[in-house]
Amino acid sequence: MIDLRWIGGHLGAIGDSLLQHVLLTVTAVGIGFAISLVLGLIAQRVRWTYGPIAATTGLLYTIPSLALFAFLVPFTGLSFLTAEIGLVSYTLLILIRNVVAGLDGVPPDVSEAAVAMGLTSRQRLVRVELPLATPVIVAGIRIATVTTIGLVTVTGIIGQGGLGQQIFLGLQLAFPTRIYVGVVGSILLAFLADVGLLAIQRRLTPWTQAGGR
């Protein structure tokens, strides 16, 4: 049922879809992370803001993606921007929550020692708190990335989609091969991203690999 010749002959188009998929994902996670870092820091320091922030991002998360993209289309059209607004919104809940949890996870005696040694609050953030929060934050980025890869396929319905584009075209043209290309491709991409980010997480945190007593 899979037309391998078609695949062989259209590697360029498939590659383009893949590229678009990666582009959409990386942009969304990148922007989402930047926003989440700021909001997460605020939420962690100014505790009462955490409730409203979590509630808002949670609400966004609950809205089914198809609906969210559908909402946006009349305003921003069938564009990269529409896709990105939706995709970024979905990353916020996970990333903010992980930024806060990561910062909360810094052992209090380490923070106390850092204050007592005379590090300013910016120095503490950069040299102590963020490095220690890294494992949790990167775990959040991993989940957000894999999730986003999945959501990008949905944006096929608004003309973006990356590999999702192949799925929708396959459906439209009743051509199963394209569907498979899209399905298998997006699954593979998700797994690769997951494994790759796990390796990066391990590289960034050598002290967690060192055997403990």
Binding site: D109, V110, A114, M117, G118, W207
Partner: protein, 408 residues
């Protein structure tokens, strides 16, 4: 002392006795909220003065405000009223970050940065102060050596790979890194087992003998207070100072019932903690090496009050005791005759701990050794209890690591 110094480096403070500051509390009070003065952690009108280069212990039951008082020195907690003067300057008037970089801080859980190596941890404050990389490395190696950790082995490891005792040594090294004139220590040896704690205490006292820093030390353990302190401040719940004086004064003349109760009913026995093995003149047992002539040994033993032979090796390290009855008539001394029985005592070991060890091992005499494990002499249970009988309040020299007698 720095060989490689960058002209841009801040001026290097002398690496040994980098200067110690005086610390004075003047009517310091801390009240939490609108609470009464007796809330745990509060401090009520604390006034005391610590001379430079001395260890002042803050001791008392939980909630007596000792940790609060400590934390007011580096302003982790701000006093409600009163002043804390460091070398005559009110701490409140100084820039807080700069103040803290000049105060060493050691806590029970060490607070070592888990994500940095031991070397990086020790160099935190020097790095903040802008020292060059070369100087940081040099100082790190020096300090690790000072606290008894081989720099080559430890510098690149992570805190999670070290034992509790090793981590605490790193904590002390880190606090000493920028050679601060004041050190604050909050139950630093509380989280390790008693054997390790005793060793750490002894080593710390040896270190202090060289560096002579002004140290404020919090503990809830009166025995530790007596062993470690030049001055002891006993505090009671509500943050009041119950008594402030030398350990001998606290033991001999408790100022109130509270102090007497806190010190404990075994005050007499505790007085033994005021003295150390090094304060006594060690007895000289007859010593011999394996292979020495037995007949000569027997002659030496004839008048010896201890009556047992101590067998040592070429380096004068102890191997064991021999009962003269077990000696053969002639020939060279056989190593196998020696039985190791005695606990090893260091000059810093308090008489109280020494007596404990001797009674525990059920032997009459312990062997006093120097840092290289060589025999300095022996100390008997009788010699120790003799001290108890003596009324002398005078404390022997405490910080002399070499002991009273250099043998040979």
């Amino acid at each position: 002392m720095s060989v490689t110094s960058d002209p841009a480096d801040p001026p290097a403070p002398p690496t040994s006795s980098g200067g110690a500051a005086t610390v004075a509390f003047e009517h310091v009070t801390k009240v939490y909220g609108r609470a009464r003065k007796d809330t745990p952690g509060a401090v009520d009108d604390l006034s005391l003065s610590v001379p430079a280069g001395k260890i002042c212990i803050l001791v008392g039951p939980s909630g007596c405000g000792k940790t609060t008082s400590l934390k007011m020195v580096n302003r982790l907690i701000e006093p409600t009223s009163g002043r804390i003067l460091i070398d005559g300057v009110d701490a409140a008037t100084r820039d807080v970050t700069e103040l803290r970089r000049g105060i060493g801080y050691v806590i029970q859980s060490t607070g070592l940065f888990p994500h940095q190596t031991i070397g990086q941890n020790v160099a935190v404050v020097p790095r903040l102060l802008g020292w060059s990389a070369a100087r940081q490395t040099e100082r790190t190696e020096e300090l690790l050596g000072l606290v008894g950790l081989d720099p080559a082995r430890y510098r690149d490891r992570y805190p999670s790979q070290l034992s509790g005792g090793e981590r605490q040594r790193v904590g002390v090294a880190r606090a000493l890194a920028a050679d601060p004139p004041v050190m604050l220590m909050d139950e630093p040896f509380g989280a390790v087992d008693p054997i390790v704690r005793d060793r750490l205490q002894n080593e710390f006292l040896r270190l202090q003998a060289e560096l002579a820093k002004t140290i404020l030390f919090v503990t809830h353990d009166i025995d530790e207070a007596i062993k470690m302190g030049d001055l002891v401040a006993v505090m009671q719940v509500g943050g009041k100072l119950a008594q402030f004086g030398t350990p001998a004064e606290i033991l001999a003349a408790p100022a109130s019932n509270f102090v007497a109760r806190f010190v404990g009913a075994d005050r007499g026995l505790k007085r033994l903690s005021l003295f150390r093995v090094g304060d006594l003149t060690p007895a000289r047992p007859v010593m011999a090496r394996p292979g020495d002539d037995v007949e000569e040994i027997r002659r030496n033993l004839a008048d010896d009050p201890i009556g047992y032979l101590l067998v040592v090796d070429e380096e004068r390290r102890p191997i064991g005791w021999v009962d003269p009855i077990d000696l053969p008539a002639t020939g060279p001394l056989a190593r196998e005759l020696a039985t190791p029985m005695s606990p090893f005592l260091e000059p810093q070991t308090t008489l109280k701990d020494a007596l404990s060890m001797l009674l525990g091992a059920d032997v009459q005499a312990g062997i006093v050794i120097d840092p290289d494990q060589r025999v300095l002499g022996s100390v008997t249970v009788d010699a120790i209890t003799e001290v108890m009988r003596t009324k002398g309040q005078r404390r022997g020299p405490r910080h002399d690591p070499a002991g009273p007698d250099e043998s040979r």
